[in-house]
Symmetry: C2
């Protein structure tokens, strides 16, 4: 039986139903094209697209957008040579590109979070999964020890931390991606009586400054900022593993990227 | 002659005129109170407020908001013990707190940028000042050398970089604060043919991913992310120095903060 791009999309969104006003659309390619192979990635960079083409797949599933904005931003798209060259590569190769962001976050539990917890091997410590966060209870260790553990498990060169590294932690809030901002993280710290939040990314004047003030008031709180890609790439790898079982007759590859930042 | 809180505010906003819908309001205190002394800071943290009170000043000028959001966010303000304790400290001390953000960015040139350029000693290299960025032309050096120079001049433990550290740079775009996002930085890279952008903060899937793709396409671009506070604190220090000359009969102090993040 022929498997089309649209068949794959339908299967991916099936656990959720239909979301209105979503960024999860087919960015390039024909929905009726037969799928020869699938590549899954956190971010379809120039390098990832070239690698997908070399692997001979014709459908690329990307969590983040192709052109450096969450919603395709005309200020960025218009007149950019970098965008132009990337578009040309995609169009000349004929590869289909589907963005899979909003749906996977609405899996129950959140598919991206499920992959992060799997990578951290913290499944047995999960107290509860909320739509935008997961609370885990671990045996007491210091922030420094957790930072080292997370770096090892996720293969990271560095993390950024706020608060005291020597502080003991048991109650941890996990927030993947851009959920590290104050609106989600600050009430969670207080409502759940968390010692530590581990998040992907968020504005610097929000959660980290709250953590600083809380510490100065003697309320011990800490923050580990993984980086956006670092917090979500394991979720896309987890998705790829699941897709291998859903589409056993088609090659499914996960394509990782190198670290976005160096620390100097 | 008595100098009131309102007199100080009027003098600060005078170079700009009146901005509608601004976050720059008197957050605490009476505009008719006589000013005994002024403290200026990037972010009025718990520690900064305590220090200002100890210095005996009764007006604190802060660039960023008191409660971990750009526009006072009810999700954060309501029911937070950290917010409650900070408010109590301010109210019991009677210190007035004025936020000075939008106006100083509309000074010509931007007062925050002027302070950053002063701290970097790059005034003679400035090609042009735009409302949201400044272009400098420096003698050719590598990204690694610029990163080291910037760390030394601004007293930073680390910066994050994207792109090749060995790449030579002469044309640099500077964007202070949260102007590191793609909407401002990406068109600037291309329009101004920049080798490097040095910015405060911005979403990770925007400018850094553009820099990564540009590099992979052979268009050499690089990014140095200073941190939000790191990019704007020199501007508030510069403001404090200027205010000493404007209010010579009143003590004016600049209060710095420690680095928000550690790298582990």
């Amino acid at each position: 039986m022929v498997l089309t791009v649209q068949n794959v999309i339908d299967r991916l969104i099936e656990p959720v139903g239909t979301i209105q006003n979503t960024v999860d659309t087919l960015k390039f390619g024909n929905p009726n094209m037969e799928v020869r192979g699938i590549a899954v990635t956190f971010m379809a960079t120039q390098q990832v697209i070239e690698q997908a083409i070399k692997l001979g797949v014709n459908l690329l599933i990307t969590h983040e957008g192709l052109f450096y904005s969450h919603i395709d931003n005309p200020d960025i798209l218009e007149g950019s040579k970098v965008v132009g060259e990337k578009k040309r590569l995609i169009e000349e190769s004929g590869i289909a590109v589907y963005r899979f962001h909003d749906y996977v976050h609405r899996y129950q539990p959140d598919g991206i979070m499920a992959g992060l917890i799997e990578a951290l091997e913290w499944k047995s410590y999960v107290e509860k999964n909320e739509p935008t966060s997961t609370i885990v209870n671990i045996p007491p260790v210091t922030v420094r020890e957790i930072a080292q553990y997370v770096k090892t498990k996720l293969g990271l060169e560095f993390v950024r931390t706020a608060g005291e590294l020597s502080q003991n932690c048991t109650r941890i809030g996990l927030l993947a991606g851009y959920r590290g901002g104050g609106t989600l993280s600050i009430p969670l710290f207080e409502k759940e009586n968390l010692d530590l939040i581990i998040s992907g990314e968020g504005p610097e004047w929000e959660t980290p400054e709250f953590v600083r003030d809380a510490g100065y008031q003697g309320k011990h709180k800490a923050l580990i900022v993984l980086g956006h890609a670092e917090s979500e790439e394991p979720g896309m790898q987890y998705l790829a593993e699941w897709m291998k079982t859903v589409f056993p007759d088609i090659p499914v590859h996960f394509i990782p990227e190198k670290a976005l930042f160096q620390v100097v």
